[in-house]
Symmetry: C2
């Protein structure tokens, strides 16, 4: 049994909790929260503890899955916790990954622990697919598309506009761009050609809707470079139609082979996810299994999904995976 | 530089040869053939040697890629060569993989070498995707579809029919089955519901076409369980329209998450390949890179694609892959 614990009990923490119930080789020993643990009851019945008590669990947890945010939580949290525990996070601020890797690596090496950063599906499964494909077909290139799915960052950006009560933003890949990529022509695609942004907004009564729509569509970085549509809906419609967190996307790599590069190949990986946090949680649990095996073999320091051999993700033994999956 | 050699110079050997030219970190030191080497000129200009001289190259080859057939070549060839060389093969007789693994493992351990068996795309990349997906979404299942592509085994079976001069058989996945799988309903699909078989046949002049068609459609194991169409064409049409070896396929895994299994997820991996042997060759070259790295770290015995960490497939260093692909 792998003794698992969850640090941070938001959407992702609950996704890890529910995923852990699907793996008979996993035991969820506790959930750690920065809120008052006496006011929180876990869905699975797993005990809830205060995050401040975590150090007393040293030696009692095989892998700690850290479910904090990349912006402000993980840069401090992961290295601190890596001193005492084997840890996994889903740090996803791409530009800062090398820096995060370095601090976590130093902490884990000093603690004699093993840490996996930036797990999930992007970074994570998508990264692995980019690596496989570009290693196999070097004379080519890959494209990543996201959606259809809810972008929390873009939804939050809309909510900060004056007069907005609630908002949900969907990122939508454009079919024509997907088809152009699959053709192997390796098109140069602008930001606008790859994705659409569709926004559902609940406005305050009497708010200036035209102004809100204009502010969304012209918002730099978030919306200005995209074709954006804005729908004003009621709070009831928001609750009824937009309370889920679906997501997904595509990694499509095309490349040429042959002595005259006369043959085209398309490698496509795609995900259609009803629940982004539950799927991400499922990925984290599979990688927790791998980290536990790798730590038991004596490995320490920081690793990424690139360093994890597929076999370590499986609860099945070598003979079984060769027989049933190879 | 990784010193690569090819053992067996048919379609797959040429695919490996052309793939090796795309990797600046690979040096093709030689091609070994069981035919008379003086009568064979390699396409790349790499030297061609007699297979019987292979043992004199011990110590001069980092990884030997064995491009023989699974039915009669590889069961003897791979263990024999594994005593002296790090080797890779693409053994694909699924039912016999455990036995092949055991004999190759014993040979490689006795020789202090590292061997990878059953590499390619199925077994190979498809196996890896089945493993990732079923480890992440255990409450679910995967389906594998092949095609549209040429099945050499089925083409050969048709050629053995009296009155047949040449034949090409395409395996075609059925769209309705793909859609049913993607829906997450986990349908029970019969053999007939998953794939069609389309045959192009050149018959001898005066042959009984109706009888040939009947013999194909009722052939046990190969065609009897499928909806099969047969087209009689001329030798010129065969050469013009069917001289390529395209292939591909789909691994689609669906699974449920959530405390009440209320969310569906679809993980799909698909390949569309203009040239099956060139793509398979490209996969083998990437895995040769990995086997060389793993052997340099001291690993011996037999491994499969499940044991190879993605990072080892790449010519790029750790910092580079973290920066560009994670």
């Amino acid at each position: 049994m792998t003794k698992l614990a969850i640090y941070g009990y938001g959407n992702l923490g609950k996704g890890v909790e529910s995923a852990s119930l699907q793996s008979p080789d996993m035991e969820l020993v506790g959930i750690f929260t920065r809120r008052d643990p006496t006011e929180i009851k876990s869905i699975s019945g797993a005990p809830v503890y205060s995050a401040s008590d975590i150090s007393s669990f040293k030696g009692k947890i095989d892998v700690l899955i850290i479910c904090g945010g990349s912006a402000t939580d993980l840069p401090g949290m992961t290295p601190t916790l890596a001193k005492d525990f084997n840890v996994i996070d889903s740090f996803d601020t791409h530009a800062n990954i090398p820096q995060h890797f370095a601090t976590v690596d130093a902490a884990a090496k000093s603690g004699g622990t093993l840490a996996l950063i930036s797990s999930g599906w992007d970074p994570g499964l998508f990264s692995v697919n980019r690596l496989y494909a570009s290693s196999i077909l070097p004379e080519g290139g890959y494209y990543t598309f996201w959606g259809r799915g809810v972008s929390q960052g873009h939804s939050d950006a809309i909510r900060r506009i004056d007069g907005v009560v609630d908002a949900r933003q969907y990122t939508i890949p454009i079919d024509a761009a997907l088809d152009a990529v699959r053709s192997g022509s390796m098109p140069n695609l602008t930001t606008r050609q790859k994705h659409l942004r569709e926004c559902f907004v609940v406005a305050k009564e009497g708010a200036d809707l035209a102004s809100i729509e204009e502010q969304i569509k012209t918002m730099p970085n978030y919306f200005a470079d995209y074709d954006t549509t804005v729908h004003f809906i009621t709070a009831e419609e928001m609750k009824r139609d937009h309370s889920e967190l679906p997501h997904g996307g595509f990694v499509i790599h095309t490349g040429k082979t042959g002595f005259n590069k006369e043959h085209n190949h398309v490698i496509e990986y795609n995900l259609k996810l009803d629940s982004n946090p539950e799927f991400t949680g499922s990925v984290l649990v599979a990688y927790a299994r791998a980290i536990n095996k790798m730590a038991e073999r004596g490995q320490t320091g920081c690793v990424t999904v690139f360093d994890v051999a597929p076999a370590d993700l499986s609860p099945l033994g070598r003979e079984e995976i060769i027989k049933t999956l190879l």
